[in-house]
């Protein structure tokens, strides 16, 4: 919603404090994501006074339960997962307008009942309500939900007004290019692109948003942000947990689909894109798509740009842990990768010849997500002393996305003393130490953004397709070769030897963030 389209009484107020009357409908209301993220997000929005005065939440799922049971589930989830202790007054505000409807996702009649329920809320309220549908279900039911939203008329409610229905879709946005196109086609058959909010929670993280501010609000970085000054870029999204109870899902997904294709590519796009013409959603998303299209096709196969591996047994947090193929629900001969690392080259004026190294994995040494910009070493031999004591470090700017959100810059400095000796030092900025640690979670920001109609931090359909276009040949190759080329890495390590070799071939090495 642009500033000019907003109500005159909201003029000059934060758009995030002007969410219109809204009913949020969560499909998959009894699911894990709803409990861990969505309900705590709604609660905390309420705590911060960011929910509209006229706010309703409707849970929708296959399992039948009365409204009170859904409220009890929500209360338990908020107690367990909210970043704040629940406060009675806030809970009352959030819980009172909660209701639950049971129905199948492919049952047209159930969606008619849902439409009637929402119309009833609107009638009781005596004014129009924006409908925000959150699809938090397995991807197999994305299509029936979307088609039923269309058939029931829910998708088209209040068309042409700021209250036009909106749909948030959770990843995965397809399994490959073909299925991503099919999903987009289904969405477009019912909804206009501005109604669709493909969510990648990484984009809701403060450091990710700060990346744009650092790049474009500081004069010192952007002039250096190119192939003349940057040696390489490393993006790491590492988890220390294994597949746990999600073995069944993960076997069908794997690291490339689960993490690389979405989270790391979004981080890459924000790092590498050209300055947008404005901070409008479409201006930013246009630039992201452009840079994704400029990535060269990957060289696949032995000695190529991609490596994959599965974790074997190892030690995490001082405790022995099993390997991937010993986990529950995993086939003994599984060919699903739990780690992937790759080298991307962007064929444009800014990045020609600068490798972007991406890696992600489960059961790695620690949970960390970061973007590291490695600058070229300074020229000349001014500090090449007689005993090579001037071992200058490369300047590195790293954005730590989780945990401990912040950024740091490595500089070389003189060690105090009579002689000139150098040592790298770290300048750090941490959100928690500067602004306090109880900052909003990514889902809070994103749910609110969708409510106010701001798609900047969501993925557009052509972005998803551009990313799948890059990775679908890799997935097809892996499917054809089975386990051939699959390496093993010790649980609790930084990955397999092949990942090290991938960088060593280009005279680089992975960081250990």
């Amino acid at each position: 919603m642009s500033e000019t389209a907003r109500h005159p009484f909201l003029h000059g107020l934060s758009k995030h404090r002007g969410a219109p009357p809204t009913v949020v409908v969560i499909f998959g209301a009894s699911g894990d994501l709803t409990a861990r993220k969505l309900l705590p997000a709604v609660y905390n929005l309420g705590h911060d006074g960011l929910l509209p005065a006229d706010f309703f939440l409707v849970g929708y799922g296959r399992k039948a339960m009365p409204d009170d049971e859904f409220r009890a589930l929500a209360a338990a989830a908020i107690r367990e997962y909210s970043r704040r202790e629940p406060a009675a007054a806030v809970w009352q505000q959030v819980a009172a307008p909660m209701s639950y409807l049971a129905g199948a996702y492919d049952e047209a009649g159930a969606f008619q009942r849902l439409a009637a329920h929402l119309d009833g809320l609107e009638r009781r309220l005596g004014r129009s309500l924006q409908r925000l549908f959150y699809i938090s279900t397995p991807p197999s039911v994305f299509a029936p939900i979307i088609l039923n939203l269309g058939a029931s008329g829910l998708a088209g409610r209040h068309a042409g007004t700021p209250l036009h229905s909106k749909v948030i879709v959770e990843k995965p946005f397809g399994r490959d290019l073909e299925s991503a196109r099919a999903l987009n086609a289904t969405l477009r058959s019912v909804l206009a692109e501005p109604q669709v909010y493909r969510i990648d929670h990484y984009l809701g993280k403060e450091t990710v948003q700060d990346l744009l501010v650092q790049r474009f609000a500081n004069a010192i970085f952007e002039p250096l942000w190119n192939r003349n000054f940057i040696e390489s870029v490393q993006i790491t999204v590492a988890e220390d947990v294994g597949v746990g109870a999600r073995g069944g899902y993960y076997e069908q997904s794997g690291c490339l689909r689960d993490m690389i294709q979405n989270h790391t590519m979004q981080l890459l796009a924000l790092t590498a894109m050209e300055p947008p013409g404005s901070l409008e959603a479409e201006a930013i998303r246009d630039e992201k798509v452009k840079v994704l299209h400029a990535i060269q096709p990957l060289t696949i196969g032995p000695g190529g740009d991609v490596t994959r591996a599965q974790y074997g047994g190892g030690m995490v947090g001082g405790q022995p842990v099993p390997g991937y193929r010993e986990e529950a629900g995993i086939a003994p001969e599984s060919a699903t990768e739990t780690f992937a690392a790759l080298r991307l080259l962007i064929n444009n004026w800014r990045w020609q010849g600068v490798p972007f190294y991406l890696r992600s994995g489960k059961r790695m040494a620690r949970r960390v997500s970061e973007i590291a910009i490695n600058f070229r070493r300074p020229p000349g031999t001014l500090f090449a002393g007689e005993t090579a004591r001037f071992d200058l470090a490369a300047n590195t700017l790293s954005f730590q996305i989780q945990p401990d959100e912040g950024l740091s810059l490595i500089l070389n400095t003189k060690v105090p003393g009579l002689e000139t000796r150098t040592q790298p030092v770290k300048m750090s900025f941490r959100y928690a130490t500067t602004f306090g640690s109880n900052t909003a979670e990514a889902y809070e920001r994103l749910v609110l953004d969708a409510m106010v109609g701001d798609g900047t931090l969501f993925i557009r359909g052509d972005e998803a397709e551009a990313s799948w276009r890059l990775y679908t040949p890799v997935l097809e190759y892996w499917r054809n070769v089975g386990r051939a080329g699959m390496e093993t890495y010790a649980a609790g390590s930084w990955g397999p030897p092949g990942a090290e070799a991938l960088l060593a071939r280009h005279h680089h090495g992975w960081r250990q963030p």
């Binding site: 030690m315 405790q319 040494a365 770290k426 609790g492």
Partner: protein
């Protein structure tokens, strides 16, 4: 040797909770009214330092080295990881951790430096996983310094190639290291430093400045023997000092292959010489040419006696070895 781990300060935390433990450390300090980390700029994460206590370390020795690192950290605060291996007869896949922190207050409010220690005890079977655990205790991007103290056999170092290869400096003390330590095929030989050499800095400086008053050719001409005598406890210092003298004299043009070079122990209570901890002598074939430096480390005094054909010179100077924490600094940064 769990007794070594147990003898070190700090409070035990689960290995998976080291970061939380460190954070909690400062929170508890605040509750006690002690200095806390209000901002990261006081936190000393400008170097990573691994003190690897070998199987030869005793609890008392470990506490001594720990105290040395604490003193070192007052000037060069950093993230310190102390590794304490268990003997081979501990069969369990076991790792334990302790955390410890100190803040040093200077004369101004801004002169506050804090240092964090992580102690890790590990069984032999857990060793393959140790380096990953260490990697997540270190501060990213900052240089790693590794001190191998009292390791029992050089061959054991092959288990720690990650640390040896990544370290900007690998420190050892050849006075207590296994005999083959200096010949060990270090992954990065240029990074290896002998603490004995560092300890000798004031002596090298003193002798070097004295001899630099003469032209190199004068020092090399007619040189027949180089001898470093030493008190029994200073055999390593004598060996290193002799090697240094050989290198410098070679650079002056002396044909050292034809020069006798040796160390010799000074017997206990050997008359007037007993006060000399170290004594370096250059013997020349030309009559009347000589150089003798005698360092009395017990009282910090040195005596130069030299004649290079321009008349006899006798001077006094300072003879001392660097304090352990200063020797660490010298070896790491210089």
């Amino acid at each position: 040797m769990p007794e070594v781990f147990d003898a070190l300060p700090g409070h035990e935390v689960p290995v998976a909770g080291i970061r939380r433990g460190l954070a909690g450390l400062w929170a508890e300090a605040g509750q006690r009214g002690e200095p806390t980390l209000e901002a990261d700029d006081a936190k000393a994460t400008q170097v990573n330092f691994v003190l690897h206590l070998g199987l030869g370390a005793t609890p008392t020795d470990a506490q001594e080295q720990f105290a040395t690192v604490v003193k070192f950290s007052r000037r060069h605060p950093g993230r310190v990881v102390v590794l304490c291996p268990l003997h081979a007869d501990v069969p369990t896949l076991e790792m334990r951790a302790k955390v410890y922190g100190e803040c040093f207050l200077g004369r101004t409010k801004s002169d506050k430096r804090c240092v964090e220690f992580v102690m890790l005890s590990y069984s032999r079977s857990a060793r393959p996983f140790l380096e990953n655990q260490v990697s997540i205790c270190l501060s990213t991007d900052l240089p790693l310094y590794y001190w191998a103290h009292r390791f029992s056999a050089s061959g054991r170092l092959a288990d720690y190639t990650y640390l040896l290869g990544r370290a900007k400096r690998v420190l050892l003390d050849s006075a207590i290291a296994p005999a083959d330590a200096l010949d060990y095929p270090w992954p990065n030989p240029r990074a290896t430093r002998d603490l004995v050499y560092s300890r000798l800095l004031p002596i090298r400086q003193s002798i070097g400045q004295f001899l630099a008053a003469y032209r190199p050719a004068v020092l090399a001409e007619g040189l027949g023997a180089v001898t470093v005598a030493h008190a029994p406890a200073l055999a390593a210092e004598a060996r290193v000092l002799l090697a240094w003298l050989r290198r410098r004299l070679t650079a002056c043009g002396a044909a050292m292959d034809a020069v006798q070079a040796a160390t010799e122990a000074i017997a206990e209570g050997q008359g007037a010489e007993s006060g000399a901890g170290l004594e370096a002598t250059l013997a020349y074939s030309a009559p009347g040419r000589s150089f003798r430096w005698r360092g009395e480390l017990a009282n910090g005094r040195a005596i130069f006696q030299a004649d290079f054909g321009t008349g006899r010179t006798e001077l006094t100077g300072v003879a001392r070895l660097l304090e352990p924490e200063i020797a660490l600094s010298e070896a790491m940064f210089f």
